[in-house]
Symmetry: C2
Subunit: 112 residues, 2 copies
DNA sequence: CATATATACATTGTTATACTATGTACTTTG
DNA sequence: CAAAGTACATAGTATAACAATGTATATATG
């Protein structure tokens, strides 16, 4: 069946898209912790990010200095690592937005 | 610099996007050969597909029976391999379109 | 006429990233 | 007290874009 093809295709489309989405959520300046981000993104976009995808992704973004992180102790339960965007991250996300916009316009041109 | 980040990001975004674009070009029923596809897509979308990307991509699409190919001898020059879409390809591309549309709506929601 | 450029297909090796599976550890709920 | 939820993390696998390289023909240019 080509169900399988579609499934694999969606996984490929997510490559790149996820970092863009995460940076956009953080863009406003509010800090999020990982588990929260997954749920927030699922709520807004219906896109499900596996934990095994998100945590390495956040580390990559941090290595590239687009976000920073900070451990915050909780009154009860496990400490949370809060992520927030850096100035360089904001700068980068606006360039990404521009590319995405052009890409979608191209796709619209070609799909109709 | 984050020029490098953007560059790598664009390469990742193309994963999945390129197969979608190629199938959309073929969707109308007209047959294209590889070299022609690259130029056609560059002209319409400004997206540059490397030859080392396109030919393996076309083989994958063929393996998945979304397209078929046919060698056509030329009066002069190198024979061309013409690709055309299959019914299954048309079916698949419309599912892809649906997903893409939803994805872009999600992104729009999150970027504003 | 030799060389560069364009046409046309193809493969190999490298790199990046999503996902599954698995693991740790604490808390809440039935 | 077991199950489900919260919260972080890593290892291994699969996939795909791209650079580099190779083959071969045709045409333009100095």
């Amino acid at each position: 069946m080509n169900e399988d093809f579609i499934h694999k295709w969606i996984s490929q489309v997510k490559k790149g898209t996820l970092s863009f989405i995460v940076l956009n959520v953080l863009k406003g300046g509010k800090a999020y912790y990982g588990y929260d981000l997954i749920n927030e993104i699922k709520k807004i976009t219906e896109i499900e990010i596996a934990e095994g995808t998100l945590y390495p992704l956040m580390n990559r973004l941090k290595d590239d200095k687009l976000i920073r992180s900070e451990w915050v102790e909780q009154e009860s339960g496990i400490p949370r690592k809060y992520y927030s965007i850096t100035p360089e991250g904001k700068n980068t996300v606006s360039k990404m937005e521009e590319y995405w916009h052009n890409l979608n316009n191209s796709v619209l041109k070609i799909t109709k």
